[in-house]
C-alpha cells in the first residue's frame, strides 16, 4: 500500500510542478466553454467536459512518457508493475479531480440551469476515463508528440461525431456527453444510466488495457534467472 501511495504522491508532485503545462492544459476546457457560451448552453457544457478529458489525458500522457526510463529502475528497487501503473493512475485521478473543481464551479457561477449532480457525475466519468486513456497512449507511443497528436485526433472525432450514431459509443468520452445531456436538457433517466454504465465499462476496459501493456513491458524476461543469495 505504501508503494502505491508513494508513486501516487510523486506523480502528483511532478504534475503540480509542471505549472506552465498545466495552465496551458486548463486553457482548453475554459476556451471550449466560453466560445460556445453565447449559442447553446448544452454545447458549451459538453465542450467543457471534453476539454477536461483532454487536459487530464494529456497530463497522463506526459506523466507516463516521463516515467518510461524510471519505471524499470523502480522494478529493481522492489516495485511490482501494478504498484507503478496503479499508483500513477491514482495520482492522475487526484490531479483530475483538482482540475475539475473550477470547471464544475464555472457554470454554477455563470448561473446555468443544470442538474449539478449530473454535471458532477459527468466530470467524474470524464476524469475516470481520461487518466487510463492518456496512460494507455503514453505506454503504447513512446514520444509525447505522437501521443498528443493521437489524443487530438480522438478529441476531434469525439467532438464531430453524431452522438446518436452507433459509432459514437465507441469513443471514450461518450459517457460524459450522455450524462451532460441529462444534466443540461433535463432529459429522461435513460441518458444518465447509459452514460454511467458506459463510463464504468470504458474505465474498466482502459485500466485493464494499461495493466496488460505495463505488465508486458515491465515483465521479468525469460532469459534472466534469479537465484536467492547463496
Amino acid at each position: 500500500m505504501n508503494r502505491l501511495v508513494t508513486v501516487a504522491e510523486m506523480t502528483l508532485r511532478e504534475l503540480l510542478r509542471r505549472r506552465g503545462v498545466l495552465l496551458l492544459l486548463l486553457l482548453m476546457p475554459l476556451t471550449f466553454y466560453l466560445i460556445r457560451r453565447d449559442a447553446y448552453l448544452g454545447q458549451s457544457v459538453r465542450s467543457l467536459l471534453l476539454g477536461v478529458g483532454w487536459a487530464v489525458s494529456t497530463a497522463a500522457l506526459f506523466a507516463t512518457t516521463a516515467a518510461r526510463e524510471l519505471e524499470p529502475r523502480l522494478r529493481f528497487a522492489g516495485y511490482r508493475p501494478h504498484h507503478l501503473y496503479l499508483g500513477r493512475m491514482l495520482g492522475l485521478w487526484a490531479v483530475g479531480l483538482v482540475i475539475s473543481v473550477p470547471f464544475f464551479l464555472l457554470p454554477l457561477v455563470d448561473g446555468a440551469d443544470l442538474r449539478y449532480g449530473g454535471l458532477a457525475a459527468a466530470m467524474l466519468c470524464s476524469v475516470g476515463v481520461a487518466a487510463p486513456f492518456g496512460m494507455l497512449i503514453g505506454t503504447l507511443l513512446p514520444r509525447e508528440l505522437e501521443g498528443t497528436l493521437l489524443l487530438l485526433t480522438v478529441v476531434t472525432v469525439q467532438m464531430l461525431i453524431d452522438p446518436a450514431g452507433s459509432g459514437a459509443k465507441l469513443t471514450p468520452f461518450w459517457s460524459s456527453r450522455e450524462i451532460a445531456t441529462w444534466s443540461v436538457d433535463h432529459t429522461d433517466e435513460g441518458y444518465l444510466t447509459r452514460g454511467v454504465l458506459h463510463g464504468f465499462a470504458v474505465t474498466a476496459l482502459l485500466v485493464l488495457s494499461v495493466a496488460a501493456v505495463a505488465s508486458v513491458r515491465l515483465r521479468r524476461r525469460r532469459h534472466l534467472r534469479h537465484l536467492p543469495v547463496g
Binding site: 505504501n2 508503494r3 508513494t6 508513486v7 510523486m10 508532485r13 511532478e14 504534475l15 510542478r17 509542471r18 516521463a66 516515467a67 526510463e69 524510471l70 524499470p72 529502475r73 523502480l74 529493481f76 528497487a77 522492489g78 516495485y79 504498484h83 521479468r220 524476461r221 525469460r222 532469459h223 534472466l224 534467472r225 534469479h226 537465484l227 536467492p228 543469495v229 547463496g230
Partner: protein, 280 residues
C-alpha cells in the same frame, strides 16, 4: 610527472587490495612529501610498484571476500538488430567481491549486453543467472525531471519498505561518498549533467544490490568525483558486491578484476567470442 607516479602508485595499492581509506591516506602523505620536498618520486620512493609492495608489507591488506560465490553468470549472449549481429556468444562470470569491466569500441554492444544482464531487453540466444538483488544505473536518464533528490531516495526506499526518513538519510550518505551534498531544494532537471549522474548512481546503490550493473555512469563527472566513484566501487566490492561497469576509459582497467572486451576482432565485421581478457 608526480601525478602520473601517484596515479600508478594508487592503482597499485588498490590492485594489492590495500583498504581504500588506508590507500588514500598513504597516497595523500606521499603527495604532501613530494610537494614539500620538491623531489622526483622515482628518486625519493623508487618505482611505484616497488613502493606499493613495501607499503603492503608494512600495513597489510584489507581482508577481501574473494573468491566469493558467482553472483552473475551471462552465457552465450547473442543479440541481433535486424541483420546486424551486435553480440555473439558473449560470456561473463562475476563473483561476489569482483569488479568486471565491459569494454569495446562504440556500437559494439556494451550497453546492449548490460541491458540484457539487467533483464531490460531479451537476447536472441543465451541466458543470465543472477544471485541476489540487482541494481542498474543507465548511461543517462532514469531520473524524474520534476522531483528533488530526496524524493528520488524516498521513491527508491519505499520499494523496499524503507521509511522516508531513513531513505533520505541513506541517499544523502551515499551521495556524500561521491562528494555531493544532496539535500538541496533543487529539481533533477536543474542539476548539472554530472550531478544528475551522481543522483543516478546513488539511486542504483541505495537498494544495496548484490549485483550492480553500471553503464558508463561517470558521464560529466569532474576528476575528483571520478576518483571518488572508483573508490566507492572498491568499497562496494570489498563489502561483497559483484559489479559490472561498462567503460571506454581503459586507464582504469587496472582497478578491475575481469575484462570483457566486446570489440570485433575481424576486420570483416564478424564478431569474435566475447571474453578475451581478464585477471582471475
Amino acid at each position: 610527472m608526480n601525478d602520473d607516479w601517484l596515479r600508478t602508485f594508487a592503482a597499485e595499492l588498490h590492485h594489492r587490495r590495500v583498504a581504500v581509506d588506508a590507500a588514500r591516506h598513504v597516497v595523500a602523505e606521499a603527495a604532501t612529501h613530494l610537494r614539500d620536498s620538491g623531489g622526483d618520486p622515482w628518486v625519493v620512493f623508487g618505482p611505484p610498484q616497488q613502493y606499493a609492495g613495501a607499503i603492503v608489507e608494512s600495513i597489510g591488506t584489507a581482508p577481501g571476500p574473494r573468491p566469493g560465490p558467482v553472483r552473475l553468470h551471462a552465457r552465450g549472449i547473442t543479440k541481433r538488430y535486424g541483420r546486424k549481429t551486435v553480440l555473439r556468444d558473449a560470456t561473463l562470470t562475476v563473483r561476489a567481491g569482483q569488479i568486471a569491466a565491459v569494454v569495446g569500441a562504440n556500437g559494439c554492444g556494451k550497453s546492449t549486453f548490460l541491458r540484457i544482464c539487467a533483464g531490460l531487453i531479451s537476447p536472441d540466444a543465451g541466458e543470465v543467472t543472477v544471485s541476489g538483488r540487482l541494481g542498474y544505473c543507465p548511461q543517462s536518464g532514469g531520473t524524474a525531471d520534476f522531483l528533488l533528490a530526496d524524493e528520488h531516495f524516498v521513491l527508491v526506499g519505499a520499494g523496499q519498505g524503507v521509511a522516508r526518513g531513513p531513505a533520505r538519510r541513506a541517499g544523502r550518505a551515499a551521495a556524500r561518498q561521491l562528494g555531493w551534498e544532496a539535500g538541496g531544494n533543487v529539481q533533477a532537471r536543474h542539476l548539472s549533467g554530472g550531478t544528475r549522474q551522481k543522483l543516478n548512481l546513488t539511486m542504483s546503490t541505495l537498494s544495496e544490490p548484490d549485483v550492480l550493473l553500471l553503464d558508463e555512469p561517470y558521464q560529466g563527472f569532474d576528476q575528483g568525483t571520478y576518483v571518488n566513484f572508483w573508490d566507492q566501487l572498491s568499497r562496494l566490492r570489498d563489502e561483497g558486491a559483484a559489479i559490472v561497469v561498462v567503460t571506454h576509459l581503459l586507464n582504469q582497467l587496472d582497478r578491475v578484476d575481469t575484462v570483457l572486451d566486446l570489440t570485433p576482432a575481424q576486420p570483416s565485421g564478424r564478431i569474435a567470442p566475447g571474453v578475451r581478457g581478464g585477471r582471475p
